[in-house]
């Protein structure tokens, strides 16, 4: 009697094998529209395929920097209370002045993002998602292109008149383009360190 009553429940539990490529197993969740995905998708690949239309140059970026960034990062991109953005010939601080915060990576001259990042897309991505502090997500694509161009120009990577857009930004040859080795990971793989007691 009790066993017979269990049978219908087992039928309900009879879901397809998990992991079959053809269909979902649980039928949970909603299929987002292409427009919804676009509005969520702010991660910019080194290929730049997610970059939106728009453009900007260092000339357009200069007044934006003064208006939206200089208060925290310093008028010259160095010496503010936020991390350094522009390489500085003279990083000696006046007596009593505090060095700008050293985050990970420790941002000092050669490791400012405008020089150290292997791809210019990283700069665009971070300004777009995380700046200005307290007003994140308020910059237009044109403003983000212009500010990216301004930082790259001030760090000696591109010319002042170069216009950045979805096509030209990923093409910018960054000085540290080959400056990284990809971390590798496999299940059960020991770290490449000769451990001996």
């Amino acid at each position: 009697m009790r066993l017979r009553r269990l049978v219908p429940l087992m039928v309900i539990l009879g879901l397809p094998q998990p992991g079959s490529a053809q269909s979902s197993t649980y039928g949970l969740g909603k299929t987002p529209t292409a427009e919804e995905i676009r509005s969520w998708d702010i991660a910019i690949s080194p290929t730049g395929k997610e970059l939106p239309p728009g453009s900007g140059s260092a000339k357009e970026g200069a007044p934006l920097y003064a208006q939206k960034c200089a208060a925290c990062h310093g008028a010259t991109g160095y010496g503010g209370r936020a991390p350094q953005l522009i390489r500085s010939e003279n990083t000696t601080l006046p007596p009593g002045a505090k060095a700008p915060p050293c985050l990970s990576p420790c941002i000092r001259n050669e490791t400012v993002m405008g020089i150290y990042s292997p791809y210019a897309t990283t700069i665009w991505d971070y300004i777009n998602r995380g700046m200005p502090f307290g007003k994140e997500g308020t910059l237009t694509p044109n403003e983000v292109y212009a500010l990216t161009a301004f930082l790259l120009y001030k760090n000696g990577v591109i010319a002042e008149e170069q216009v950045l857009d979805a096509q030209s930004l990923p093409q910018v040859k960054m000085p540290n383009r080959d400056g990284y080795v990809l971390p590798e990971w496999k299940h059960g793989m020991p770290r490449p360190f000769p451990n001996k007691p």
Binding site: G19, S24, I37, D41, I42, G130, N195
Partner: protein, 413 residues
């Protein structure tokens, strides 16, 4: 009815008599009961607080005050020296954020998680829908890359307080990825939080399919806001920053995305890059540890924590002579993979000056190195890492010096 009332009255009378007897006995030498705790309906009924005698708290990292110049709370350290067992109380779990992020106040009814990219079926889930998938509960540590012991760190909270261990409950990311159908050519996933900076990082797809958890539970209740409420990613054994809090999105991609977090971790030295991502075997003695004082010679329970990103802890050894001789410690908790493991040993201190340290070996046979061994690997002078931060994950051995007066200090100081 009458007889019942009568018997109740009799019972009450009897109770009063018994209480009176008790009071008389107390007055005549029996230990009196302690005074009751200050009554609070919230504690007694709704949600209990710890005893007011217990004062162990988190503190800000030495390197940056909290609040900082922007009013932000940066990294705060868990008080390992006060903890027992292997679970970190949720309210004492260390907190680290991408740039001192402001904790977002996410209404769980409004919460959405998007899984998309190189998949056959992009899907958006509510929290309620995530909970309709089969759940697993697993004990894992989370440790921040910034957990680097330095000479000016005085206590184990300062040297090692950016690691914590919880029971995490949620759905395996692999289940959700299979639900969406991962396409050929995919190699990485980019996970992203919902905080104001939307912190994001690239994780190998092999790891995402292995044992990562989309977690909504921590130690039997909802994850705390500071630790990612309502949903966070748990990437067992990886650097803390990959364990994305306030998880809002995972995108399946073909190549490394070089997000701001990724860029913050890159190195062109393959030796450094090789020691990134996954924590090596690590351990530390939490008693006796820096800032504590042994009241005098005699028997103590030396104890500490061991863990590894490579799996389960297989062995912990302890040395009392600066690393010349080692003795196996007892494993004094259950052993879980990528989890804090409690070790200990009965230790007799004769009152002499000594140097205590522990060494962990994990299931892969990896052995925790000394700072000098790491320095040799990186072609640096032996004492280089006494004063310099280790590149990548720091899993080096931490020695504590016990002085003849019983005071304990960081041996690198």
């Amino acid at each position: 009815m009458d007889s019942k009332k009568a018997s109740r009255r009799k019972f009450l009378k009897g109770g009063a008599a018994a209480a009176a007897v008790g009071a008389i006995q107390s007055a005549s030498g029996q230990t009196p009961a302690p005074a009751p705790v200050k009554r609070s309906l919230k504690d007694e009924v709704a949600y209990g607080e710890r005893s007011h005698y217990v004062t162990s708290v988190r503190v800000a990292v030495l390197e940056r005050p909290s609040p900082d110049e922007f009013g932000l709370t940066f990294h705060v350290l868990t008080p390992l020296q006060d903890q027992v067992g292997i679970i970190t109380p949720s309210s004492l779990h260390f907190v680290g954020t991408h740039r001192g992020a402001i904790v977002p106040d996410i209404d769980p009814r409004e919460y959405r998680f998007l899984l998309h990219g190189m998949v056959d079926r992009p899907l958006e889930f509510t929290l309620e829908e995530l909970k309709r998938f089969p759940s697993v509960s697993r004990i894992h540590f989370v440790e921040c890359l910034g957990n680097r012991a330095r000479a000016d760190h005085k206590t184990v909270q300062q040297t090692h307080g950016l690691t914590s261990c919880s029971e995490w409950t949620g759905v395996l990311l692999s289940v959700l990825l299979k639900e969406c159908g991962v396409q050929k050519g995919a190699n990485w996933v980019v996970s992203e939080g919902a905080e104001e900076v939307k912190g994001a990082g690239s994780i190998p797809l092999a790891k995402a399919m292995d044992d990562c958890l989309v977690a909504y539970g921590q130690n039997g209740e909802a994850i705390r806001p500071q630790n990612g409420f309502p949903v966070r990613l748990i990437v067992p054994g990886f650097e803390g920053i990959y364990n994305t809090k306030w998880l809002r999105r995972i995108k399946v991609v073909d190549h490394y995305y070089m997000t701001y977090n990724d860029y913050g971790h890159i190195s062109k030295d393959p030796k450094v890059a090789g020691l990134n991502l996954q924590w090596g075997p690590k351990s530390v003695i939490t008693f006796p540890s820096g800032g504590q004082k042994l009241p005098g010679p005699g028997v103590y329970q030396l104890t500490g924590l061991a863990w590894s990103g490579g799996g389960a802890v297989r062995k912990v050894e302890v040395s009392a002579d600066g690393g010349h001789t080692w003795k196996d410690a007892e494993i004094r908790s259950q052993v879980h993979r990528m989890a804090h493991t409690r070790f200990g040993m009965t230790w007799k201190w004769e009152g002499q000056e000594c140097m205590l340290q522990s060494r962990c070996t994990d299931e892969l046979g990896q052995v925790q190195p000394t700072k000098a061994q790491l320095a040799k690997f990186f072609n640096q002078p032996p004492d280089y890492y006494h004063t310099h931060g280790v590149q990548g994950t720091d899993n080096t051995i931490q020695p504590w010096r016990v002085a003849a007066d019983g005071s304990v200090s960081n041996a690198f100081a």
